[in-house]
Symmetry: C2
Subunit: 333 residues, 2 copies
């Protein structure tokens, strides 16, 4: 039987990682190339990050944002977690014949508004129209360029390092799942979609040497990011269940749909791994910003289960957080 | 009635230009921003071009290339016509559930092979999978960055300037239309898909001061590019019918389908507007390269029909080449 693309190949989980490793990185990859993230590059002596992301979310309007908000903030955040200052963004639209002009204008308004707030410019674009049925309404690709003025090399992560998340987890994923499933009681549940460049910059400027790693936990959530970090290494990730910031509304929807908020997408959060001594200070900087008010240390690096991420409950129970194979929340971004 | 997206909004013609002017440029645009092309930008004193393009061509394999070949070369060429040296490219895939892995691998092989030939690196990527029916098999976005070492500002185009095309026109458009329409006699008709950066560089290095304008005539063909140049200006474009390089096979398919090759897409050609005195020398440089063997001066700028492009036949007849409103060759790139 011929091998076919499965939903899980786009999930941010195991299947996708395998595909990237075996058929994409094998071809394009070099040592200094991060194909699943921003690439760090140099041109005439200037260091910069370059990233790309296509947004296919459904529905394209959701509580807390729309596909345009997401397209700008997603790319701004991908650059920011590399230590880059986002400067320029592209906007490539794929539109299905029959798409409403008024909806398109609202989406473009969102993009402009978010770009202004994040201090980035949308400088180049492309528009393709495909016949009815050849795409689902609207897809947006944004690529971005950010200058690296202060390098935060990805340093070795060590036992004892602390894991910080900049706020409540799973908000975006569960806000979208709630409206898809018509869960009317979930009023007030909104996406956390936001640009994090200003908040991240505040941390980098104060603690340029402390940060070992940063990533925005979008598709696949916090658990997928943490799994990637320890995969194939001698270290493991321990999370403290009690420390995880999760909104009650998110918990409610997660329970109903049988989803772990650790695997639900975030669009305005960052996971930071830091030297232990500065962890509390970094949390305090995060808390002083609007986007980071509920930041917390949620766990640490140890060597108990090499290559694995696990969660410890209040009563001492332990549960491994596997790298998911299957698509849990399709088209969440 | 609510206004809806029509196929023509993606055609490279009048409807698309109107949409870009009224709803996109109005929001994002600034004086120094070319939203339909590469943007010319500066970062820490380094000048560069940044461009984006999504490829939705059907069928995704065609004589002379595939969607991967197109995705790399299209972006390389968009950078090259701005006078930039293409360096880095991104690769963002939207895959429909059920897409063949073997086809994907062939397409990625094409991308790698073209990138190597064009001396550009594919450095970052993204993969999204959408359910069956939510996209038509595969869409690829490539964005690109190229350094501008030698600026060719877009200078004022003046009466007397010559119009050069680097080879036969309409090859890509008609090769794709022929296989879509099962025109079996059209054997030998292949896309001209190619990277033009090396050829363009040869011209820029010899004649940095002579070039007024360069553009790769993709969607909408040579006629659409020339219309854009004179739109709203006091100058007009005159083409000599006898001078147009058109393959016999392309003429044949155009006749059957009722398409003017001047409106058919090219994927390996450049239109150059140059000072009259250097036109023949530039053609000779083009002819010395593999991609430019059939380059020719095809017309000139005058003031006879301000704002219009027209063609003059051997017997002196004249025909206006309108800016098309409708989509003539949907999903050609």
């Amino acid at each position: 039987m011929t091998k076919k693309i499965l939903p899980g190949h786009g999930s941010g989980g195991k299947l996708m990682n395998e595909m990237i490793d075996t058929i994409i990185r094998k071809r394009f990859g070099a040592d200094n190339v991060q194909l699943d993230d921003s690439a760090v590059l140099s041109m005439a002596g200037v260091r910069f990050a370059f990233t790309t992301d296509t947004f296919t979310i459904t529905p394209f309007f959701f509580p807390g944002g729309d596909i345009g908000t997401l397209a700008v903030n997603g790319t701004v955040n991908d650059l920011s977690v590399m230590g880059a200052k986002p400067l320029f963004i592209s906007c490539a639209l794929v539109l299905e014949e029959g798409f409403d002009f008024a909806d398109l204008e609202k989406i473009l308004d969102s993009m402009k508004s978010e770009a202004d707030k994040a201090d980035v410019r949308i400088v180049t674009g492309d528009t393709k129209v495909v016949p009815n049925g050849a795409a689902d309404k609207i897809f947006i690709n944004t690529s971005g360029i950010g200058i690296i003025e202060r390098s935060i090399q990805r340093r070795e992560i060590k036992p004892g390092d602390r894991i910080i998340v900049s706020g409540t987890i799973g908000d975006h994923g569960m806000a979208v799942m709630a409206i898809r499933n018509n869960l009317s009681f979930s009023g007030g549940l909104t996406s956390d979609c936001a640009h994090l460049n200003h908040m991240i910059r505040a941390v980098i400027e104060r603690f340029p040497e402390s940060i070992r790693f940063m990533r925005d936990p979008t598709r696949g959530g916090v658990a997928s990011v943490l799994n990637e970090i320890v995969k194939g290494k001698k270290i493991s990730v321990k999370l403290n269940e009690d420390a995880l910031p999760v909104r009650d509304e998110v918990k409610g929807v997660c329970d109903i749909l049988g989803i772990d908020p650790l695997y639900a997408a975030n669009e305005g959060k960052v996971v930071i791994i830091t030297r232990p001594d500065d962890a509390e200070d970094i949390v305090n900087i995060l808390k002083s910003t609007a986007e980071g008010r509920e930041a917390a240390v949620i766990g640490e690096i140890n060597e108990e289960f090499p290559g694995k991420a696990y969660i410890e409950t209040a009563v001492g129970g332990r549960r491994i957080l596997p790298l998911l194979t299957e698509e849990q929340l399709p088209r969440i971004c």
